[in-house]
Amino acid sequence: MTFALVGNQNSGKTTLFNQLTGANQHVGNFPGVTVESKSGFVRGYKDVEVVDLPGIYSIRAYSSEETVTRDFILNNKPDGIINIVDATNIERNLYLTLQLIELRIPMVLALNMMDEVRSNGGTIDIEMMSERLGIPVVPISAAKNEGIDELIRVAYETASKRELPKIYDFCSPGPIHRCIHAICHVIEDHAQDADLPLRFATSKLIEGDDDKIISRLNLDKNELELIDHSIVEMEKEHGLDCNAALADMRYSFIESVCDGAVVKARESKEHLRSAKIDLVLTNKYAAIPIFFGVMLLIFYLTFNVIGKFLQDLLQSGIDSLSSVTETALTSFGTNEIAKSLVIDGLFAGVGSVLSFLPIIVVLFFFLSILEDTGYMARIAFVMDKSLRKIGLSGRSIVPMLIGFGCTVPAVMATRTLSSERDRKMTILLTPYMSCSAKIPIYAVFSAALFPKYAALVMIGLYIFGILVGILIALLMNHSMYRGNPIPFVMELPNYRFPSPKTVAMLLWDKAKDFITKAFTIIFFATLAIWFFSTFDIRLNPVESQSSSILASIGAFIAPIFAPLGFGSWQVSTSLITGFIAKESVISTLGILTSAPGGVVNAISQMFTPRSGLSFLIFTLLYTPCVAAVSAICRELHSKLKGIGVVVFQCVTAWIFAFIVYQIAGLFMV
């Protein structure tokens, strides 16, 4: 038996999903569904599965979240729908309920946050609601785990008996009523043939926003004209156009459902508290400084304190395990190559995968708190204006800022963006926010070539990255992502205390996701680099790196970089190793040049300030590391697009480095 869990954003849907399923969750792949949806088995019911569909406010065909919900329910035909409704915000939540009722699937209403309603002195007459809506209503509190067992029981019963919603007429006598029934009459047979719920199809015809459904009905010209005619008649009589009239009908019905059944609290404590917090957090003068303060604190704690501590701990664990193994292998007299495979290949590979883990977990701990408390919505509110010019909304600012720390969690953090278009654009733009692993490159090059202007060069590079990002965003707006962006009409939920269980589940999810999916690609990439740097073309182990396959590949591609001013094989080889981890660029350069006086000295001999600058621009913009690319592939659901990002960024980097090199030629030697 399968249930679809549907509800508004901020209705506590994820919390309820976690309460229903516990740890029995997996990412579901449903045919034709591009947005990932999770599913899990209900606690205590081995054969009852719940699918967590995206949080939506309405079923229209304007966003992928909405079409996913529509398609899942129409095509996969779940045995039942569990519709979660925020009882503190019942009118707007019931709007979706009415649309779900039209889909003719057994349905249960889970009235969430009833504890808040009661503690504020409000009441909701459950029986009256249930009777007026024609579906069972179960009061619950997902955060406090109250009423969940009852919800499961009622849902199971309703679905087993295949009890359809008893009411589906939301219109009172009048023009809309006449229009709906006239259309129903015309399309009745068509809807049956197309296997579409009649009322839903009628609504879609009146709203006219879903061509896919309308074409499925296979109406002929006369019928379409008849339908158009009744809509025009209705609009004339009613005074409102079709969309407003239908929305008006639904909200009027909701008001009649709530009338007498819902006694609102005079003032809710949660709202008063939120208003007080907002006096500070969205304050005209304090809001922006507070936001940057919060982000800086999160960065500091993640990259310098907690994350770093865990990373060092993990590193020393791997190091000691690696050195114990090395000693053992040496004393056993193992072949040098095999030993190198274990130590430099396997251990280094596992190490580089695991080194990301602490940062991801710690960062997502803070992010989930920002999201679940409701502060993330305020950030979007405060920062929206700054991102609007590049065609994004305020929601994208957080993933982009995280990009300055590490692209991997930044790309993973786009998951919370509610629009697919914004999500994709943000994913493509985050790599232009220079990640912290590139800092050593900037530092060493500045020290070698621009000792007096090191700080200026650093800041300049960051700004240059942002500017290129903006340019790319503008280009995307005029090409790939042209058209109307998803409207920025966003709810500002009350501030709430995050549920520890939800936070813990999210961390577990992200860690598992990263380890299981990123492991293979990063691990094999590391092994490949080990192989290429250990052997020469004839597969003989090499004495020094300079005769390895890697160096040959470096030498082979070196001419590509000649127009940028750095055509030597050492530099191109180090750029290849930078694909594994940006930190490797400098260490590889050090090994390959093996110059006396260290890498700084080597760089000042190999590069002029002009070619150095061009190299810095190239490293700033070229392909993100393999871990980031694998994250991008996962979030874009396409390996091909991931490879596209690699190629696109390398080309962009080359072009900009070339331009900078040419312009710098006018001023420098």
Partner: protein
């Protein structure tokens, strides 16, 4: 008082929606969120950079951009109307 557009309503004041303009996805979204004629809305505050605005309707808070708010016509309520508890969809 004459009808204004919602973006012209100053922070703290209340109005009743008389018409919702716009088209396509934006308009549907506004209607879906409960911004329909006869609904009371209160402008709570403006974001620090002057845009978007926070509004309150039907017991919840919503943020919309000024350009979108300009598509919504409202009849401002005077102090009197503000004092009385609204019937449908409170703006507290």
């Amino acid at each position: 008082m004459d009808d204004l557009t919602l973006d012209k309503l100053s922070a703290g004041s209340v109005g009743v929606i008389t018409a919702v303009g716009g088209e396509g996805a934006l308009r549907c979204r506004l209607l879906d969120m409960g911004l329909i004629p006869r609904t009371k809305v209160k402008v709570v505050k403006t974001a620090p950079m002057g845009d978007p605005v926070e509004i309150r309707l039907r017991d919840y808070a919503l943020t919309i951009r000024l350009a979108d708010a300009a598509l919504i016509k409202v009849r401002p309520l005077n102090g009197d109307g503000e004092e009385k508890e609204p019937v449908g969809g409170a703006a507290t």
